[in-house]
């Protein structure tokens, strides 16, 4: 049995990170938090992740570019993008650029968990 991999949550909002951290812990999901794209890229280098959940509308960086960087180094990562502004453009553009799925803020945690499960299932295939 392969070692279970972790989820990386990337978001610049500290409150959001904390809340999500609590929710993941409660559901016994192994996770790590990153506050920026740089932080995320660094963590990916040193730890074993399979799914990244990332806000694509963080200030100072194009989240989709960040996703492209991650996938360049680790093509097998599945990325679920988060956006606070339900924009058809952002959603479709994210999928076009290789995101597995997207979730809207405010997050429906069960929906996010289900998408993470599906992403993992897809990775296993």
């Amino acid at each position: 049995m392969a070692k279970k991999k972790k989820i990386l949550l990337v978001d610049d909002e500290v409150d959001f990170r904390e809340t999500m951290g609590k929710l993941f812990s409660r559901r016994e999901v192994d996770f790590s938090l990153a506050e920026s794209c740089m932080d995320a890229l660094e963590q990916i280098e040193h730890d074993d992740f399979d799914v990244v959940v990332m806000d694509v509308s963080m200030p100072g960086l194009d989240g989709l570019k960040c996703m492209a960087e991650m996938k360049k180094v680790h093509p097998h990562l599945e990325v679920i993008i988060l956006t606070g502004h339900a924009s058809p453009h952002a959603g479709v553009a994210g999928i076009r650029k290789g995101a597995f799925d997207y979730c809207l803020k405010p997050i429906d945690f069960e929906e996010l968990l289900e998408k993470i499960m599906l992403a993992r299932k897809s990775l296993a295939e």
């Binding site: 606070g84 058809p88 809207l104 289900e114 295939e125």
Partner: protein, 873 residues
Amino acid sequence: MLRIFSFIKESLFPAPPPVFNQEELGEAFRKRYTHFRSLLTANNNALQAMADLEKIYYGGDSYRMAVIRSKITTILVNVYKMVRSLLAMSSGRYGELEKIFDTINSNLEYIIEKKPELPQGPLILGLSELSLKDATLAGDKMACLGELTRLPGIMVPPGFVLTATATRKFLTAEHLAEINRRLQVLDPDDLDALYKGCHGIQSMILALPLPADLEELLLVHYNRLEKVAFPGCRVSMRSSALGEDSATVSFAGLYRSVLNVDRTNIVAAYKEVIAGKYGARAIAYRRQRGYRHEDIEMCVGCMVMVDALVSGVVYSIDPGQEDNGLLRINATAGIAKGVVDGSQAADLFLISREKPYPVVYNEIRQVVIKQGPAQTAGPSLTYNQLRKLAETALLLEEQFGEPQDIEWSFDHQGVLYILQSRPLTGGHPAVETSKKPEITVADSREQPIIFGGVCASNGIASGEVFRVDSPEAMRRFPKGGILLLAHPLPEWAPLLNRAAAVIAEGGTEAGHLATVSREFGIPALFGLPDALKLLEDGQTITLHATGRAVFAGRREDLLRQKNVKKDIMAGSPVQRILTEALQWITPLNLNDPASPRFKSSWCETLHDITRFCHEKSVTEMFSFGQTHRFDQSAAKRLVGDVPLEWWVIDLADGFRDGAGVGVKTIRIEDIVSIPMLAIWQGISAYPWQGPPRVSARGFGSIIFQSTMRPELDPSVPSALTTKNYFLISKNFCNLSVRLGYHYAMIEAYLSDLLTESYVTFRFKGGAADQQRKAVRARLLADILLQYDFRIELRSDSLLARVKKRSVEFLEQRLQVLGYLTLHARQLDMVMEQPGVVDQYREKFLREIEEMLGKTAPTCGEDDNGKEKENTVS
């Protein structure tokens, strides 16, 4: 010539597909399967979101732009995923789908992102410079007052307005983006969060500095007011919003007014009024009535405070009554605030609209007001004042061409000032009549005969029940009938322009038929497990889809409720956006897969694309066995107590751990493929009786067929004619059977995710003539129809499918297929003998029922698996 020859050769003897070894086969299967599953999941999500969107649109309740955006985004993302998956499955065939999708995507984005036009103008305009045409710059309230300054005999306090241009100078695009970002993450149902969020936004606005030039200009205009009135005069700062353009929407009392403002706090008061746009109640009201925040822009009026003796509100027509020819006046001592916000008791006067304006009725609820040194007590208004108010109200009504709601004050000198005049909304008819026509049992004369299910399309209708379960019944369906179905399949859609309503035992609001029902405005109630038992053909019923109830007979009392609902969102910007957007989303033009128009180039809406992708993905998936031949050395022979010859190829996790390694055989006990085991239960339930007794004529025909088609001759050895192959994984099984002369294929994927689950059965051929083969295929179809299969039958070629059901349900269907695959062998040969078809039908059904009875409830019982929410364990 050569080309023609090669064409004929290719048509008659197509090149065999490439041969794959087990590993390659497994890989090809897994890849295609991953895309197929992802397509099915996306299909489910897209259809669910479309159903949600239509429910929102037709439901009559209010909805928010954020929800519309989110649903449309979900639909677009999932439809795009479907397109991508189909392209991957079909090696890029249907490439034009992507272009069609892009066009629809851009159209929708344009509709959603389109912003109201914002005219530019001066930062501040004097009240006397304004007229109604300036409403887009000064807001309706101040533009109206400006208009009134031109009317002889009407007094408006001196003042000016800080225009929308000023607001945009104060709250820049960046500020608005930040505000919108905060608003979008607010959960509208969490009132605490809403108030907290609003407070945060308002504090942010109050803390922003006013641009220096705007502040300077504001003070210059205040100075001018001081000159007109008196030094140090107090002003009122009032909201004057842009974009409240619907007569049914009042926006009354939602925004801020700041009274008794002087030079020292005029800037703070201005910001306070601007921030009032983001008050919790204002936000909630806009959401409820279909206004986006950007549809409303706040301007601020600044007027000299009237030294009011008595103030109040006059309605030029008494609202709430039939036209009674009266005006309604409320009055209170001092300023009008208490009347407007309802916080203070006020005197009420009902006055005739005809000269000399007699008082018809009054209620004096106020503390007595001194109307001058000579008067000690009396009502708040004198007769002369009432008459003056009546004359003014009627003048304003004439000026604006509709009944008016007017705020006024009499000052101590007895001068009447008009502070506001706006169209009278007459209450909120939309709100009052938008109550859902819920029926309670107590209300109705008789109990419903069926209650429950899922309302797939709102409405009430009455008619005669007509059950449709075959193309033949479809042709006989009467206009105005109530369509009764076991499952609401898309193929029944053409009936919806004739049906009065639809009732189905299965289904949800997300299916195609549900969508089309809503599109046609036909009431539909799905998910009623006993509908077929409880309703009879020809029975007259009344369906109350919204109340999820079916009543016997024609219920006029319920039918009268049909049009009671009014649309609370009528005419709002959000409703306009959704109306436009839906045109690109829900209409379904691709109904019939057999039609020559069932092509990607005919896809005009996102619904068309989902329908097309779904249909083609099924075709692509089920051609897997035809396009992927396998290297037979990968197969292991099933050994043990096994009838006939069966071979098994493991694609992934189909064998018990460690089983089958290094050997050429496998035992049934070592198989862990759930669908294969179910099929096997069916195959092994009853021993095959051997070939039926054939008449000489029947046998002669078989010999003839064999001579004509050597590949059908069982004496000619060939891998395909002698072996039956199972391709398996834990949850998947594809069984191809070439038993003698017929070809059968069973394929199944069983999953906890209902969207992924299906069972498909193909059956074709036989050794007898075409007619007898067709009779056998019909017999199989008849039996499978009884077990909830969806059937396509052309001559002797049968395709039967069942999908989106629970694992247990599908396992039973696989048992049925396993049983039939074995026992239908060589049956075609006797199909011309009289009574034989009935005899076999009876035998098969009896044995199948007995077989299923051993393990689980018999068919027809609800499996509780009807397209419920997907869960991932």
